[in-house]
């Protein structure tokens, strides 16, 4: 059985980078992702909402020292979908 499938939600450049940043981590704060992508809060929120609605990422809001902290992590399904998407890209390139 092939473990590669193209995911059009993940493939958008910013969303692809979000998933790639999250893959090696347990979770990253919204601000960390924002600094890496160099996009505005609203643009990043929009992408994260799309990924969250698709069940690819989980969003957790926490309050620390009176400040809101938004943690983003890949869900189990998200990890699988991202891995399959990468495999598909490798297949297209001829690496698999």
């Amino acid at each position: 059985m092939s473990n590669s499938s193209f995911n059009s939600i993940i493939h958008a450049p910013n969303r692809l980078q979000i998933c790639a940043l999250l893959a090696p981590a347990e979770a990253l704060e919204f601000i960390v992702i924002k600094n890496h992508l160099e996009v505005s809060d609203s643009v990043l929120s929009k992408h994260i909402k799309v990924l969250e609605d698709a069940g690819i990422v989980k969003v957790e809001k926490k309050i620390r020292n009176g400040r809101n902290h938004t943690w983003v992590s890949l869900s189990t399904e998200g990890k699988k979908a991202f891995e399959e998407h990468v495999n598909k890209l490798k297949e297209i390139v001829g690496l698999k």
């Binding site: 940043l21 893959a23 090696p24 979770a27 990468v86 598909k88």
Partner: protein
């Protein structure tokens, strides 16, 4: 194959893979501890290995083993907490089968070196624990530098 999939050209896929690789590299590098933390952690692990080998029947070396173990745990906890305060949560368990296998092999090598040093010291080779300590310190240093997330995805700078 759906329509969008058909639209993905070889070049497009290649640039997407490059983008993924760069983002993952950046993410993994951001988990790398500072040089001082890496040196302290490696030195403490080396001292742990050496002192554990010398500790048989010697309370001073046993004491050094306990102190270095406690300090090593403190350094690793400090690393975890400081990353968290920077908005990065480190994975405590490795990623998938490949990551699990990598960590298992690493732990096996560290254990074999530590037990080997102990046994060879007992058989009269007094210099072995020092070499064992140096080997384990080097392994910890390499691991923290190249594999800070305990995943088998080595970062090569300047590529």
């Amino acid at each position: 194959m759906n329509n969008q999939e058909q639209d993905i050209t070889h070049e497009n896929a290649k640039s997407a893979l490059k983008m993924i690789e760069n983002s993952q590299k950046d993410s993994i590098t951001s988990f790398r501890p500072t040089l001082s933390v890496m040196l302290i952690a490696a030195a403490l692990f080396g001292v742990m290995t050496t002192s554990a080998s010398y500790s048989s029947g010697n309370s001073l070396w046993s004491f050094i083993t306990i102190v270095s173990t406690v300090l090593f745990i403190c350094v690793m906890t400090y690393r975890y907490v400081s990353l968290r305060l920077d908005g990065k949560k480190l994975k405590l368990t490795p990623n998938g089968m490949k990551g699990g296998l990598f960590v298992s092999i690493e732990l096996l090598i560290l254990t074999v070196v530590a037990i080997g040093s102990m046994e060879l010291y007992k058989s009269g080779e007094e210099w072995v624990p020092i070499v064992g300590g140096l080997i384990n310190a080097t392994i910890v240093m390499i691991s923290l530098y190249y594999f800070p997330t305990s995943d088998f995805s080595k970062i090569t700078e300047g590529e």
